[in-house]
Symmetry: C2
C-alpha cells in the first residue's frame, strides 16, 4: 500500500506521457512536501481517472493508469490544531477511514501539546493501519506539525474553509456545491481558534463555516467535517 | 439538565393543554420506555415548537412551552450493535454531541461484549457530560441493551434505516429528503450484520443504506451517520 501524495490535474496539463505541473503544484510538491527527483505521486483528474506519476526535475511523468474505487474524487487536506492527550490518534484514524488525503497538524495559540518526533511516526503508523482496514487504495500523508501562521501561508487553494463553533457562519453543507478538486479545511483546538487566528485565516482567504448548532469536541469536529465533505463529493 | 424522552406530535394532537397520544406513542412511552404516571417528557412539533409534558394515565398534559436552540428538529434513535472494548463510550459521547435523542444498544449475533449494569450507568454519565459540553438542552436517553430481534420488533417508525457496508445500497444522503420527524438508524458491529439479521431487518421494513465506499469501524459509522442526518435536518 503506497503512501503517495495526490494532486489534481486538468486534462490539458497532460501531453502524452508528460505532465506539465502548474507553479502551485510545483511549490506544493517541491517546497511543502519536499519531494525529490524520481519521487512518485498520484495525479487525478478529479472525476474518475487516476495515474501513477513521477517527479522529473520540476515536471511530472505519467508512469501508468491506476484503478481506484474506494478513494474520494477530490483531494482533502485537513489542517487540524493538535488536541490534548492522544486525541490526534483518533483524528488520524477516523479521517483516514473517511478518505482524507493529507493531514497537517497545527500548533495553534491554544495548543498545549508539543509533539515529539515519535508522535509523527505513531500517526503515520495509525494512518497506514486505518487505510488498510477501510480498504483504501492510498495512505494519507501526515505532515510534520507546523505553526498556525506557516500553515496558513503555505496552503494555497481556492477552496479553503475554517470551522468556527461560535458566530453565525454558514453551515458546511451550504457551501458543498462549491467544492472543487482540492479542498483545505482547518479545525481548531479545545476552546477554538483565538480571535487573532480567525482574523489571519479570513484575511488569507479562508471562508468561515459552521458544523451545526452544538459545540463539538476537537476530536469530533474533523470527523463531522470529513463525513459531510465525503458525502457531498461521493454521492 | 433534564434527561427527558422526546416524542414528535402533530399539532392536531393538541387540544388546549391536553395531548392526545397515538397508540404508537403510548406503546413507546409505556412499554418501551416504561414511563409511569406523572413522568415528564418533551413534545415537539418537528419544526420549531417544544413543550414540557407529563404522562397522565395513557395521555399527555402540556405543562409549559420550552425555548430550544441547540436541539435537532427531529427525533433520532440510534440502534447500535455493541462494539468491542470501550467503543460504546465513544459512540455515546460523539452521538450526544451530534444531537441523538435515544441510544438503544443491541446485542447482535456478532456482539462479543456482554455489558454489565455498571456499563449502562457509565454510558448515562457520559451522555450527561457530553450533553453539557456540547450545550444541548436535553440529555439523550440510553436504553438497556436488548437482543437484535427484540429491538427490530419494538422500533416502529416509518423512517427506519439499517447501515450495511457491503452491497450496493443507496447512500444515506440520497434518502435524506425523506427524513421526517422520527428517524431510527441501525448500525452493526465489527464485521457487520449477519445475513440473517439483515434479512430480518429488511422484512420488518428497515431500508438498507450505505455510508460511503470505504469500510468504517463500528465506532466511526454512527458518527458519520449522525453527522449526515443532523446536517440534513438542520440546514
Amino acid at each position: 500500500m503506497s503512501q503517495l501524495q495526490r494532486i489534481t490535474i486538468n486534462p490539458s496539463q497532460l501531453q502524452e506521457s508528460q505532465l506539465l505541473l502548474t507553479p502551485q503544484q510545483q511549490h506544493y510538491l517541491l517546497r511543502v512536501l519536499r519531494s525529490r527527483d524520481g519521487d512518485k505521486f498520484i495525479a487525478m483528474d478529479g472525476i474518475s481517472k487516476w495515474w501513477l506519476a513521477q517527479l522529473i526535475g520540476e515536471q511530472g511523468q505519467i508512469l501508468e493508469p491506476l484503478e481506484v474505487t474506494t478513494e474520494l474524487p477530490v483531494s482533502i487536506t485537513l489542517m487540524v490544531a493538535l488536541p490534548k492527550g492522544n486525541g490526534c490518534d483518533d483524528i488520524v484514524r477516523c479521517s483516514t477511514e473517511l478518505g482524507v488525503t493529507c493531514i497537517l497538524p497545527i500548533l495553534s495559540d491554544r495548543t498545549l501539546l508539543k509533539p515529539s518526533p515519535q508522535k509523527l511516526e505513531r500517526w503515520r503508523r495509525i494512518a497506514l493501519e486505518a487505510a488498510e482496514q477501510s480498504e483504501r487504495a492510498f495512505v494519507p500523508t501526515i505532515l510534520e506539525p507546523v505553526a498556525f501562521r506557516t500553515a496558513i501561508n503555505e496552503c494555497a487553494s481556492i477552496h479553503r474553509y475554517i470551522c468556527e463553533a461560535r458566530g453565525n457562519y454558514p453551515h458546511l453543507t451550504t457551501v458543498s456545491n462549491k467544492f472543487s478538486s482540492e479542498i483545505i479545511i482547518a479545525i481548531g483546538p479545545e476552546g477554538g481558534w483565538t480571535d487573532q487566528e480567525l482574523e489571519i485565516a479570513l484575511e488569507s482567504g479562508f471562508q468561515p463555516i459552521s458544523l451545526g448548532r452544538r459545540i463539538l469536541r476537537a476530536v469530533t469536529a474533523p470527523i463531522v467535517a470529513l463525513s459531510l465533505i465525503a458525502a457531498a463529493c461521493e454521492v
